[in-house]
Symmetry: C2
Subunit: 199 residues, 2 copies
């Protein structure tokens, strides 16, 4: 099977890693080789010493993209979950990788600040964390992501389904007939991909 990269982007706490892990399970069930390059894991293994300036974030994203490209061209379903706040850096990652599926984990800031399980937003508001995306650092939402999920309002099952249906519609994974996929959903996804120029 040919590889691809699912590039999850979104603010801290928007559910990138959680959704990434759920999608990983679903792809493993379908017999694929899967790797998850989680933001924290990457910071530890590739980017220790880098900070959160624009330059350092871009370097971090470039490194992730290079590793994703190696895995992708060797048939791996590669999932990466890093904030990756800058549009241009994501565009370059898309170019480096080729079979690139951008998944925008959208979640409004009020919801993120209300959840805040690690208290990071609170600390950022108090000025204790610099360069915190959404508070003291920009987040540039994707303009044309292949998938957009709203983790503030939709269930994780719905989000996973959107990702899988998109991969099926792109021909990156084989179609599976399953109860529960409404033809409306399929139509919406086909429409989105058509708008992006795929179909």
């Amino acid at each position: 099977m040919k590889g691809f990269t699912l590039w999850f982007t979104g603010m801290s706490g928007a559910g990138k890693s959680t959704l990434g892990r759920e999608v990983e399970d679903a792809l493993l069930e379908r017999g694929m080789n899967v790797e998850v390059l989680d933001g924290d894991e990457v910071r530890e293994n590739l980017s220790k010493g880098l900070g959160f300036s624009k330059e350092d974030r871009d370097t971090n994203v470039r490194r992730i993209a290079w590793v994703c490209s190696l895995l992708t061209r060797n048939g791996v379903a590669t999932i990466t979950a890093a904030i990756s706040p800058y549009r241009e850096a994501r565009a370059k990652a898309r170019e480096t990788i080729g079979r690139f599926v951008e998944v925008y984990c959208k979640c409004d800031l009020d919801t993120l600040e209300a959840r805040d399980p690690k208290g990071l937003y609170k600390k950022a508001r108090a000025g204790e964390i610099e360069h915190f995306t959404g508070v003291s650092d920009p987040y540039e939402p994707p303009e044309k992501p292949e998938v957009e999920v709203d983790t503030g309002s939709e269930s994780i099952e719905d989000s996973v389904r959107k990702v899988l249906l998109t991969l099926e519609a792109l021909g990156y994974i084989p179609k599976v007939e399953e109860a529960g996929y409404s033809s409306d959903e399929e139509k919406q996804i086909a429409k989105r991909l058509e708008d992006l120029g795929y179909i």
Copy 2:
């Protein structure tokens, strides 16, 4: 097919990349997925900003090892050609990667200084390059590499053959009957692997 990492180590100019590329061709001919992580390419894509202190070299080797481990566990024949002068860092790489075949590209310093196609040894002797392995920085040769080639005295064909025969003996690639492999060579390789505790 299961992956593995061929870890070429040796001083600058010892022929790591050249041999790596030849082995790449041979493995591609055998239908494997192959990736070469060359020292310079890795410095550009993973380790820009790192220097050549022991700490920075170790960090560089750790990053390479992490990427090798991802590729190896996804069935890729991964070839890396970095000086990787420190024994302990290579031992950690071995641990991270698992199916790890160390290829020591041995070449005596006189030969390297006589060749010196890029004039690097000359510059290092003149004090124009700091931390130059073999001149102003240590190189710790492997004590028990799976393969040892002497690029100062043996032909590249012989070196490639040693690597391939070792991979065959380890069961990492299927055996190919070919004219030119003497049973003496096979015996020597079997002996080496037996000494290393493989067989």
